[in-house]
């Protein structure tokens, strides 16, 4: 029974992936042909445009392009970037570490701070602290990513020039040591990481708060308190571990949302990760890079969702018996 459940989930994930693959191909081609702009440069003769379309594989019929695309993707060959003539995997490989650094830092901070604030608010339910934290987190949750990014830049880079407003490292600077380089990257990471943290924080806060409120009204908490345990120990040892369960899935499910926000945040802060790669590829209509990066996004989101389902399966016995 449980094995069938797992196979069902994996099958659904695979179907979603296939749908994304097909959808991506046609979606991006709606944007038009990257060589169309060339037609306006008198330097580009019609023969040159024909050559370029051939080099890009755009002279084939759409169905032929699609068959090539499916075959190549099945062999994990994402093709060559139309702009840089480099393999798409290399482009993704260059950008991925920066994205992982940003997402990792942002998610970690959001989880820690969001959870902690959720606990604080739940234990003070109805107080001014609770109202204030709830208002703050809903505000950051609702505010658009670009707005948060720009406000951070305005405050912490323009009005108070404490942090760099963009890029991942001071351009052209030569570093005497690995540590100096890392420190420079860390300095550049602060604003985009805070922006991502603020974007993600709200959801962690809200989930943790409501989960904690539920747990704190359970009978076993009253029993624990009746035994004379200090309040903070009841919260820390008994309430928090029970309330953490929904966060496991939230971290995974929220990954899709993170990816969406990432394109905006990386573009605003000129952070050279997958989001900016995607943004540039959209602007230059570089289909192979667009498809490749979106595929990576999709695989990541689908895998994490599947992982969340599996984790929940083991963590919560009710799912197994359902």
């Amino acid at each position: 029974m449980s094995f069938r459940w797992l196979v069902g989930k994996a099958g659904a994930a695979l179907l979603t992936l296939i749908f994304v693959l097909v959808f991506n191909f046609f979606l991006f081609r709606v944007m038009g042909d990257p060589t169309a702009q060339l037609a306006r440069l008198p330097r580009a003769t019609p023969q040159e445009i024909v050559q370029l379309r051939h080099a890009y594989g755009l002279d084939k019929p759409l169905l032929g392009q699609f068959v090539d695309y499916v075959g190549d993707t099945a062999r994990l060959d994402l093709g060559i970037s139309q702009r840089t003539r480099r393999p798409v995997w290399s482009e993704i490989g260059d950008a991925l570490p920066w994205t992982l650094l940003l997402i990792g830092t942002g998610t970690l901070l959001a989880t820690i701070v969001g959870t902690w604030l959720g606990i604080v608010a739940a234990t003070r339910r109805g107080s001014r602290t609770d109202d204030g934290l709830l208002g703050f987190s809903l505000f950051t949750y609702a505010a658009p990513e670009y707005w948060i990014g720009l406000i951070l830049i305005l405050i912490l880079a323009v009005a108070l020039p404490i942090f760099p407003a963009g890029l991942q490292v001071t351009p052209g600077k030569e570093f005497s040591s690995w540590f100096a380089h890392a420190a420079d990257v860390a300095e550049h990471l602060v604003l985009p990481a805070i922006a991502l943290t603020l974007v993600l924080l709200g959801q962690y806060f809200v989930i943790m708060r409501s989960s904690m409120v539920d747990v704190l009204t359970e009978d076993f908490i009253t029993v624990k308190r009746a035994t004379g345990l200090p309040w903070h120990r009841v919260v820390r040892r008994h309430a928090v571990p029970n309330a953490l369960l929904p966060l496991v899935t939230l971290s995974a499910i929220q990954f899709g949302y993170v990816m969406g926000g990432l394109i905006t945040i990386e573009t605003i802060f000129s952070w050279p990760g997958l989001g900016l790669l995607e943004f540039d590829a959209i602007n230059s209509k570089d289909f192979p890079v667009l498809q490749g990066a979106f595929l990576v996004f999709a695989v990541a989101v689908i895998t994490l969702n599947l992982l969340a389902d599996v984790l929940y399966f083991f963590l919560d016995p009710r799912v197994q018996t359902a």
Partner: protein
Amino acid sequence: MRARTIIATLVALLALTGQAQAQAKKVLKIGWAQDPQTLSPFIDYDEEDFRVWAINYDLLVNFSADNLGPTPGFAQSWDLSPDKKTVTFHMIKGAKWSDGQPITSADVKWSLDVLGGNGALFTGYTDNVTSVTTPDADTVIVKTKKPDARIVGGLFIYMLPKHVWGKQPVKSLTTTYKPQIPMVGSGPYVVTEFKRNRIIRMQPNRYFRGPKPKFDEIDWIKYGSGDAVNRALTLGEIDVNAEVSPAAFERLGRTKGIKTVKAASPSFTELAFNLCSKQHCPDAKFNPAVQDRTVRQAIGYAVDRDRINEISNRNTSFTGHGILPNYYKDFYAVPATDYPYDPEKAKQMLDAAGWKPGDGGVRQKGDEKLSFNLYVRSESQDNIQDARLVKEMAKAVGIDFKVQVVSTDKLTELTTQKVDGKMAPDFDTFIWGWGGDPYDPSTLLQLVTTSQIGGSSDSFYSNPEYDRLFDQQAGEFDIDKRKPIVKQMIEITQRDLPYLVLTVDPVLQAYRTDRLSGVQLSCPKPTGDLYCEQVSYAPWATLGPPTVAAAKTADEGGGSGLVIVLIAVGVIVVALGVFIVLRRRRREREAIEV
């Protein structure tokens, strides 16, 4: 004793740091929101590439920073045969590539033959060339089918080192080959590092034959968006913004310490009319009234081009005066027929031609109505705004434009579609733009020649007299004789109006006045731009770092962010620790009391 040692070490370290700062490289940082693809002239076609190539490479005959006219490049001088079909170039003597190899006529021949024959955007220049020969290392002879003035002053093909590029098969050059770094060149700086999406580093070419460049390095830094580049300039993270948007231009100009530059470019935005004849386009679809010259002229008077520049382009463009932008200093003159804004005159002309106001104020003559579709690309907000303004202005004289916003692809299709092998354009009017070459006006003038119908002509204008003059000027090497012919051609196009040129696109740049000295706006002087955008390396002879005092001010601040954040984090952690400990003690006391 130990304390004294520590203090001595700290003092020594500080002294070393100070020294390092004093010897810091003089680096110019230029920001942009888009960077080149591969930097290979065989593959790339973006303007960002041309910015870098213009510094890294020479042409056979360079563009003068004064007036963009011919000036020595790899050729020191040149002779023209009496029939004007053979040009003999005499090479500069003793010049070397940045790797120390000698520059010879073989490099020129290879570049003209191979790059001129296969480069993504360079083959158009050699279509008239029949042979390139090199009788010796110092001479290059170029023969053409017919006299072609572009051979001197318009042969926009970069000179590449044969000993580097020539090792590669052409197939590889046109598909996957990427230039070796450092990019061996002949300009004042050569590319020494290229990290796509991040940075292009250029350093002085020690074999450069001209004046020693003043910067130790030029860094082209890629940002995520134009806004990010503007911010970086305002905050002093970069020294120059290579491409300011019209929306940010005025604001940057008002910022202390930043100066903006607005120069004309060889590009324009035009309102184009479908003038295709039955002979060339038997299946074309359009409202025949668009081919009534009086109607087009009336539109010319009805449209206030200054206002279009003011509103759509925030006054950052230049008002258009015919199909040759004011950038072409040697050839440009305001045409005699210039269509100043005069709606009353437009009405009178239409009245006199029998176009009387009909339903809804739209003029008509018999069954024909002055109601035209006006296509515009969804990708260009400025063009969409242009179209709205044209519609509003034309309505005042009884001409109706129906603005249709379509994709670039769709508009390309409408203007280039064919039926039975013949052009069959399906539009009345559209707004789009064209860009020309740095000096030679032929690329723009040929857009309205008959020979380009089926090629780059999108107005499908055909006039034998204009075609004859075009051929005549294209073969005329003497600028004094060529200029009146070009003037005559402009007058014809202004009379017949295949295009109503609305605005001339600008080059918009901004730089920090405390980071750059020796600014002389060039290409052409004195109305050009900061560093001869995409055209010449000449300005780098004077562009240099600031004086010591200005540099000191510029270097202050910055770099302390991490220290501040570490201190702040430390303070917060300590405060939190104290808070938690105090609270826990209090709670424990409360628990015992319970």
